[in-house]
């Protein structure tokens, strides 16, 4: 048997996550809640970058849009959190879909810049549309209450985040192992071939952006409730790099990797508090080291050493032996 299979390990983590709060202090609960929120972000981003292969830099902006929408619907329109929160997620999804429109025409580095430009424009709007967004100073969100339930806000929010993360983890896992997930990987591995097989590039790129936006939006809503505060600087370059490194450390193109990556990066960020002032160096170095030495992320290392970690989508391990037949290949100039 495989006691440390992917399924068992994830279930054990879940069990710990459910059982731990009564034993944890406010600080641990806060960090645990952050982890759970970042799990959502990392899964969403991994679908876009790891699976669909789109080099997009707008995830922090979509996270921000989710947080702002959830917060502002409460503050400006007086909606309850329970209405504002899902609406915020759908707004982020709609924005994700909208920025995917240029993505059909753009690829690679051009797409990277267009999403970077979008992120800059979003920051600008957060900063300057003061009548709505309260500008650079940000705003406090109304305190969240789980009123009829006998549960405090930090604990309630933690369990809400956890439930959503588990649900959306399952959704993502099903999705990537399906017809849709394969189409995304096909778009990543070869756009022309994917099209020749009837896969509509725009549709699937838009889908990846939309799903990613939805996950970021959910995460944003939870984040605004966790902090009770929304301001532009939370959704900046550092945020973007943070999320990117989660999927790199966990493993590009792996849902379980996104979970591991989010957990590790957030815990590491907390642990790095000890490296007074050296955070940037350690963090940057970590990114380089992972890209250099563990390109498949932690998941690929685990896959190599522990049985039972195959992804639902039978993603390839680079170490697999090539087929015996060796063939005379002619270098093709047409193939860049």
């Amino acid at each position: 048997m495989t006691p440390f299979s992917r399924r068992n390990v994830l279930l054990a983590l879940l069990a710990i996550a459910i059982a731990a709060p009564p034993f944890a202090n406010f600080y641990h609960l806060f960090v645990a809640n952050l982890v759970v929120i970042y799990v959502l972000l990392a899964i969403g981003l991994n679908i876009l970058v790891g699976y669909a292969g789109q080099l997009a830099f707008a995830n922090a902006a979509m996270f921000g849009i989710g947080a702002y929408a959830t917060g502002l619907l409460q503050v400006q329109l007086g909606w309850s959190f329970w209405l504002a929160f899902p609406s915020g997620a759908f707004i982020a999804m709609a924005v994700g879909l909208a920025i995917s429109l240029p993505a059909l025409r753009l690829s690679g580095l051009y797409l990277a810049l267009s999403t970077l430009a979008f992120a800059q424009a979003t920051q600008w709007v957060f900063l300057h549309w003061e009548s709505v967004t309260f500008g650079a100073g940000g705003f406090k969100t109304p305190p969240l209450s789980f009123a009829p339930l006998p549960i405090t806000k930090p604990l309630g929010l933690y369990y809400l985040s956890l439930a959503l993360s588990v649900g959306l983890f399952m959704f993502a896992q099903n999705l990537v192992a399906s017809r849709v997930g394969r189409a995304l990987v096909a778009v990543r591995d070869g756009e022309v071939a994917a099209e020749s097989l009837g896969i509509d590039l725009l549709r699937y790129k838009a889908l990846a952006f939309g799903v990613s936006g939805f996950y970021a939006g959910i995460a944003g809503g939870l984040y605004s409730a966790l902090l009770n505060f929304v301001a532009p600087e939370g959704f900046d370059l550092f945020q973007m790099v943070l999320q990117k490194s989660m999927i790199v450390v966990g493993g590009l193109g792996s849902v379980a990797g996104a979970v591991l990556g989010a957990g590790i990066i957030i815990v590491l960020l907390e642990a790095l508090r000890a490296f007074k002032g050296l955070q940037e160096i350690v963090f940057g170095g970590l990114l380089v080291i992972f890209v250099l030495f563990m390109r498949g992320g932690l998941v690929s290392v685990i896959k190599r050493h522990v049985r039972g970690w195959e992804e639902p989508l039978r993603l390839v391990q680079s170490t697999a032996a090539p087929a015996p037949e060796v063939i005379d290949t002619r270098p093709s100039v047409a193939d860049r």
Binding site: V49, G53, L55, P102, R105, L106, G108, L109, Y110, A112, L113, S114, L116, A117, F118, Q120, A121, W124, H128, V192, L237, V241, K244, S245, V248, L252, G277, L278, Q279, E280, I281, V282, F283, G284, G285, L286, L287, V288, V291, L292, R295, P331, V333, A334, D335, R336
Partner: protein, 293 residues
């Protein structure tokens, strides 16, 4: 009319700086096909090194310029050795993220080394500080020095690519890496050379503009984003395109600031770029390549 000439003049001088950053980005992209996110940090770091040489150690300006370029070149080569060459065959996402990691490390390092100096470091001007008149537009001589430096750097690098063996090999590698390998070009050396020259351009830009823009560890990213935008406007592959892109970004900013409001200055180039990319997805100066399958 005077307003316009002032705004254009200021846009052009700022744009020249963006153009230099864009040049570095394009040189690296031409050879390797990736965007070096650490380009802005090369600029920052070499600027600090130049400050140390010139202000703290009293090295004269021309020598500082030279030494900073050498340090920049070394920094670029090191980046290639550490974070590009070992993984050159992997996906673009990983490669780009590795340069992001380098950028963070350089930023952190600069903060540790120079951050305790409390504030924004100033670099003494190399030219007279008295404004001078060109027609009826007043300019600071240092701005003209930046412009002249930009022109010189563009000329030097264009000549490098057209005339020297190394330049031609870089060009060939950019056009078709596999074919270049087949004719015996050591492409890994070309990559090193590209990172090195890209960083050297950033260093030259830093020494030229340091007297205008104070030095601080976070100066890199803002310049990088503008430079990246400029490079994309120019089509990512063309040196003249990068210069044109830089000037456009600078002038757009300046005009938007002067005629609309200063609050739209920062965002204006990005709006322009999003429009350009939607209309012309491969930049202004590149003709559509035939998609090969």
């Amino acid at each position: 009319m005077l307003l316009l000439s002032y705004l254009v003049m200021s846009g052009v001088t700022t744009g020249a700086l963006y153009a230099l950053i864009a040049l570095g980005i394009v040189v690296v992209n031409k050879a390797t096909g990736i965007i070096n996110f650490a380009q802005g940090e090369f600029f920052m770091f070499s600027g600090f090194v130049a400050w140390m040489l010139h202000v703290q150690m009293g090295v004269n300006y021309p020598l500082t310029f030279l030494l900073a370029a050498v340090v920049g070149f070394g920094l670029g080569c090191l980046t290639d050795r550490i974070a590009f060459r070992p993984i050159a065959k992997t996906d673009v996402v990983s490669l780009v993220l590795a340069t992001v990691g380098i950028a963070f490390m350089l930023k952190g390092l600069a903060r540790v080394i120079w951050g305790g100096k409390a504030d924004y470091l100033s670099f003494p001007p190399i030219t007279s500080t008295d404004p001078m008149m060109i027609g009826n537009v007043m300019v600071i001589p240092q701005q003209l020095a930046v412009l002249a430096g930009t022109v010189a750097i563009v000329v030097i690098f264009t000549a490098f690519f057209r005339l020297t063996r190394a330049g031609k090999m870089m060009q060939a590698t950019a056009d078709n890496a596999r074919a270049a390998t087949l004719v015996g070009i050591r492409t890994d050396r070309i990559y090193t050379l590209a990172f090195g020259t890209g960083a050297a351009i950033a260093a030259a830009a830093a020494v030229l503009t340091a007297p205008l823009t104070l030095l601080y560890p976070d100066i890199g990213f803002a310049f990088f984003v503008k430079g990246f935008a400029a490079a994309v406007l120019g089509g990512l592959m063309s040196l003249p395109g990068a210069v044109l892109g830089g000037l456009i970004v600078g002038v757009v900013e300046s005009l938007a600031g002067g005629y609309i409001h200063s609050s739209v200055m920062e965002v204006s180039p990005f709006v322009v770029i999003m429009i350009v990319l939607v209309l012309r997805p491969t930049g202004l100066l590149s003709f559509n390549k035939i998609r090969r399958v």
